[in-house]
């Protein structure tokens, strides 16, 4: 190290200091080896954040290798700010999902808002204009005011940031379970569009090129946020909380437009947003990716607060900041764009060829670390894993002792009232889901669809994941999430293209949690392979645990599909009376892990529904072809709540009207609860016009027996959903019947009522 650093007060690195930085003794030994000397405090801080779980993926990286990441459609796989796939017409869709769980628990509004800000930056640093946001949320049950407060804060934070910057929030999912009471999940997804050959990357190439800092001034916000996100919560965490980061969507909008202008004028070598671990991670990653070094002068960094130390400047997580490397001679043009948009910008350093991250404070060198050591050289662990002892107990569900459903009429009403199944309108009404005038299928159908102006094409996207399935069988749960996401896309008329994921789990240092993680990753990887949808980006969030209680394993899948012709866009609701209702796929005895079992029997137990990958593939292929042939009026997949919930939703989710249905179910062997409320995957309810019925049945027959199909009944214009159940072993047929208006009311009002009830109780 340079002589100048001698000027710093010598630091006694004590075991306590190491521990406070979240580093283990072995990790500290590795630091000594990388540096060949003792680090100073600033360097220790840099290692601390960069080697945190959040930034280094040290527990997960070896396992993530299992994901398939290649395919002819892949333009950019994992490793950049976001993944990208080819969508034709010279365009690429750029997308990624990210978690903001811990910050949202501490300050729900700002936590969720800055989560949206972060994922947007990941997309527009790639040069893509963001055109859609989605979110996946998990909260505790709404009978607690604390959970209500979290839900309201998170939704308004997402709404504020997305609405203000003008990117529509077009879909997502929410489920409720008390396991999330002290550890809610906030995962946000963003997709943008860029010309395929103009994709920007986070590179710092070309010795001597200037490194520029643009955006918000640096304050003491969120210092050690990344370390915090890599730690479990307990009641003492409140105290060591760093300054909460506050979002500024207006500034982000300016950054967005400026970045797209840089691209337009071709001014940059590379660009990277400052997310977790701020200036440190952005500079290290850019240098490490490019095999270069970076020299920064913290004295030149625009600051909001006086007397900030290099340590603080390097580790600050102030929002709405970017680091970029300008093409030689184009620095002034970059600054001119910044001036136009009123953004602060400063030259803070240069690219070097010595592979070092060198930090100056004026003339003094305050840190000097091989960039590779911090980024690629981060520790990697193959942590021990073992199935939890309770796993068998969880999976045991003796159907012989479980009474079959007694009052199916009431059971359906109760399921529609479950906030996990009920309408999420209260949520998405707060999101501007129309800005951009591309949203052709608004929230409320299986997947959201945006058109791509001027191409005649559209993109469908969805986020899915059933954490209860993952708890009961993480391998199956992972696969089922992929299958459901793909099914939702297919129901909308899209061909699935690629996946992004957000893996939310507990403490990886616990073998049972690590086992859940490994199994889920394997399940996702195998399903992605089977469906031929590569993973192009993603995010891992571990240590989702409060006071020793872990969340359910919660991998969330974000999937994007392409609709080649606007005519193929399909929605889930019935279209006209007289149409025939068909079930593609078959119902099996899948009661374990269902919403029915939870709501009616208060049990979260059993084996989750069994995913037969070949059957799933065959069903999806079949429905997509039927849609492309123009024979399908509506398509809706069966998921939580089972067949009756699906049929009810087909009746009442049309934006401006409702329909009735007359249904007959013939099932020889199944229990009634499994038939009506079981959650067998690989099932899609479609409706077809009278004129097309013959074509459809013929087509499916010609496919052979691979795709089970049954005609269930017809759409009516009456206010009744009537279901006749005929079973050979019962002498009598069962008649079930509901007023569609009643069903709709339950489903529409549930969330609002539960929120109001707690407010006035």
């Amino acid at each position: 190290m340079n002589q100048d650093t001698e000027a710093l007060p010598p630091l006694n690195i004590t075991p306590e200091l190491i521990q406070q930085h979240g580093l283990s003794e072995e990790e500290y030994q590795q630091i000594l080896k990388h540096l060949g000397r003792e680090p100073n405090l600033t360097e220790l801080g840099v290692f601390s954040v960069m080697w945190s779980e959040h930034c280094s993926y040290k527990s997960s990286r070896v396992h993530l290798k299992r994901f398939p990441t290649e395919g002819p459609q892949v333009v950019q796989g994992p490793g950049e700010n976001a993944g990208a796939v080819d969508i034709g017409d010279g365009l690429a869709a750029v997308f990624k999902m990210e978690s903001h769980n811990h910050p949202s628990f501490i300050e729900p509004f700002q936590g969720a808002a800055t989560g949206v800000g972060g994922i947007l930056r990941d997309i527009f640093t790639m040069g893509a204009r963001p055109i859609a946001l989605l979110n996946s949320l998990r909260f505790g049950e709404l009978d607690s005011t604390q959970n209500q407060h979290l839900l309201k804060g998170v939704v308004s934070g997402i709404s504020w940031y997305g609405n203000c910057i003008g990117v529509p929030t077009i879909g997502g999912e929410i489920t409720f379970n008390d396991i999330y009471s002290k550890n809610p999940l906030v995962n946000v997804f963003c997709l943008g569009i860029v010309k395929k050959d103009r994709l920007l990357r986070g590179l710092a190439k070309g010795e001597g090129n200037q490194v520029l800092y643009i955006g918000a001034k640096t304050g003491r916000d969120g210092i050690h946020g990344a370390t915090m996100a890599s730690d479990s919560f307990d009641d003492a965490s409140e105290k060591k909380r760093p300054n909460v980061q506050v979002g500024d969507p207006f500034l982000e909008k300016l950054l967005l437009e400026a970045c797209l202008e840089f691209l337009e004028q071709d001014l940059l070598v590379g660009i990277q947003d400052m997310g977790a671990a701020g200036l440190t991670s952005s500079s290290c990653e850019m240098a490490s990716r490019s095999g270069t070094g970076i020299e920064l002068d913290v004295a030149k960094v625009p600051r909001r607060e006086p007397n900030m130390t290099p340590y603080e400047i390097l580790l600050s997580e102030s929002q709405e900041r970017m680091l970029l490397v300008a093409q030689p001679g184009k620095e002034d043009a970059v600054l001119a764009v910044c001036r136009k948009w009123g953004i602060d910008a400063a030259a803070v350093g240069k690219v070097t060829d010595d592979g070092l991250l060198r930090i100056r404070d004026g003339s003094q060198i305050v840190a000097e670390i091989p960039a590779d050591a911090i980024a690629e050289g981060a520790p990697r662990y193959e942590r021990p894993s073992a199935p939890p002892q309770y796993q068998e107990l969880l999976q045991a569900l003796n159907l012989d002792t479980l009474p079959d459903v007694k009052d199916a009429t009431d059971a359906l009403l109760q399921l529609l009232n479950s906030p996990t199944i009920a309408s999420k309108r209260w949520v998405y009404r707060q999101y501007d889901y129309m800005v951009g005038t591309n949203t052709v299928v608004c929230p409320g159908s299986d997947a959201a669809v945006v058109r791509l102006k001027g191409t005649g094409k559209a993109l469908a996207m969805t986020t899915d994941g059933n954490s209860r399935y993952c708890l009961l069988n993480p391998y199956m749960g992972g696969g089922l999430a992929v299958a459901e996401a793909a099914r939702n896309l297919v129901c909308s008329g899209a061909e699935p293209l690629a996946v992004t994921d957000c893996l939310n789990f507990g403490n990886p240092e616990r073998p049972d949690i690590m086992w859940q993680f490994i199994m889920a990753v394997e399940g996702i990887a195998d399903a992605c392979r089977a469906f031929d949808v590569p993973v192009v980006s993603g995010n891992v969030s571990l240590y989702n645990e409060t006071n020793g209680l872990s969340i359910y394993p919660s991998p969330i899948i974000g999937m994007v599909g392409l609709i080649e012709r606007e005519d193929d866009i399909t929605t889930q609701w019935f279209k006209q009376s007289g149409d025939h209702i068909l079930l593609i796929g078959e119902t099996r005895e899948d009661i374990g892990g269902t919403e029915y079992l939870k709501i009616i029997h208060s049990r979260e137990q059993g084996m989750p529904p069994y995913l037969d990958v070949d059957l799933e593939q065959a069903v999806q292929r079949c429905v997509l072809i039927l849609i492309q042939k123009g024979w399908v009026e509506s398509a809706h997949d069966c998921s939580e709540g089972g067949l009756l919930v699906t049929l009810a939703e087909c009746c009442f989710t049309h934006p401006s009207t409702t329909f009735g249905a007359t249904i007959t179910l013939n099932q020889e062997r199944l229990r009634l609860d499994a038939l009506l409320f079981g959650e067998s995957p690989s099932r899609i309810v479609i409706s077809v016009k009278e004129d097309n019925l013959q074509h459809v049945t013929q087509f499916i027959q010609d496919l052979g027996t691979k795709v089970p199909m049954s005609v269930l009944g017809q759409v009516t214009d009456r206010d009744r959903m009537a279901v006749t159940v005929q079973r050979a072993h019962e002498k009598q047929v069962q008649q079930l019947s509901w007023s569609v208006e009643d069903l709709a009311n339950r489903w529409q009002n549930s969330l609002v009522q539960q929120l109001d009830a707690a407010q006035t109780s």
Binding site: S156, S159, W160, N163, C164, I165, G166, D248, P249, F250, L251, K253, L254, E257, W341, G342, Y428, R429, Q430, Y431, D432, Y433, M434, V435, G436, T437, T439, V440, R451, K453, E566, P655
Partner: protein, 236 residues
């Protein structure tokens, strides 16, 4: 026809308006940066929706001082047509080009959904292809659309047929439920006394094409275009 669309730094419906003007209506859309000092050869000007300065302080309050606003004043004085949509409406209020002010929605939260709107005055350059009393469906997307003005101004608005749009239900009846934001007198849009400036909270540009499942917004743009026929563009 040349339609200018003012781009404030936080505008986000500017490109949506331009799309309707050019791709749907077949006219020329010109994005005008808010720092420009002048408006050149425009038949009409649109102030689009968005969050012009993050809507910090009050919606539209900071944008009102952008350099282009001087030109907008002059454009209005010379009789040019100006349409303010959502945030554009809020800016026109802050600028005093239309009377009144916006309060937060009565339920406080942001609301994005379709609303029914009754055409109260079909004799304006913005509604001449509609009929008085006609009910159209337009989406709203705002947190501050709760229109307020003092009683004297309100009477004047009513007396001069300046209330152009009111929130109503599907059958055209204005009820408490059909008013989404608590707006005074169910007001969804007003014009100035002279009749050349119109502000409305709903977004006609979001429903002017078949693929968006609603084309009711088309009538507003069509009215503007037909009332501009034969007039010459303005430069200020």
């Amino acid at each position: 026809m040349n339609i200018g669309i003012i781009v404030f730094p936080g505008s986000n419906c500017d490109r949506d308006c331009a799309h309707v003007v050019s791709e749907v209506m077949g006219h020329s859309a010109h994005l005008i940066w808010h720092q420009e000092p002048a408006i050149q050869d425009m038949d009409a000007v649109i102030l689009p929706g968005g969050f012009s300065y993050g809507d910090y302080l009050r919606t539209g309050s900071i944008a009102r001082f952008s350099p282009i606003m001087e030109a907008v004043f002059e454009f209005v004085n010379r009789g040019g047509l100006v349409l303010g949509i959502c945030n554009g409406f809020q800016i026109l209020l802050e600028a005093g080009l239309l009377p009144g002010a916006m309060l937060r929605n009565k339920a406080l939260s942001f609301i994005c959904e379709d609303t029914y709107i009754r055409i109260e005055n079909a004799e304006t350059p913005f509604t001449n292809s509609c009929e008085a009393g006609q009910v159209i469906k337009l989406p709203i997307a705002h947190a501050e659309g709760n229109y307020y003005t003092d009683p004297v101004t309100l009477s004047a608005l009513q007396a001069n047929a300046q209330v152009v749009f009111r929130y109503c239900d599907q059958d055209g009846n204005a009820t408490t439920i059909s008013n989404p934001n608590g707006s005074l007198d169910d007001i969804a849009g007003i014009r100035n006394a002279k009749g050349n400036v119109l502000g409305l909270m709903p977004h006609p540009e979001r429903c002017a094409e078949a693929i968006l499942s609603n084309q009711d917004g088309h009538s507003i743009f069509k009215s503007m275009v037909s009332s501009l026929m034969g007039k010459s563009p303005l430069s200020v």
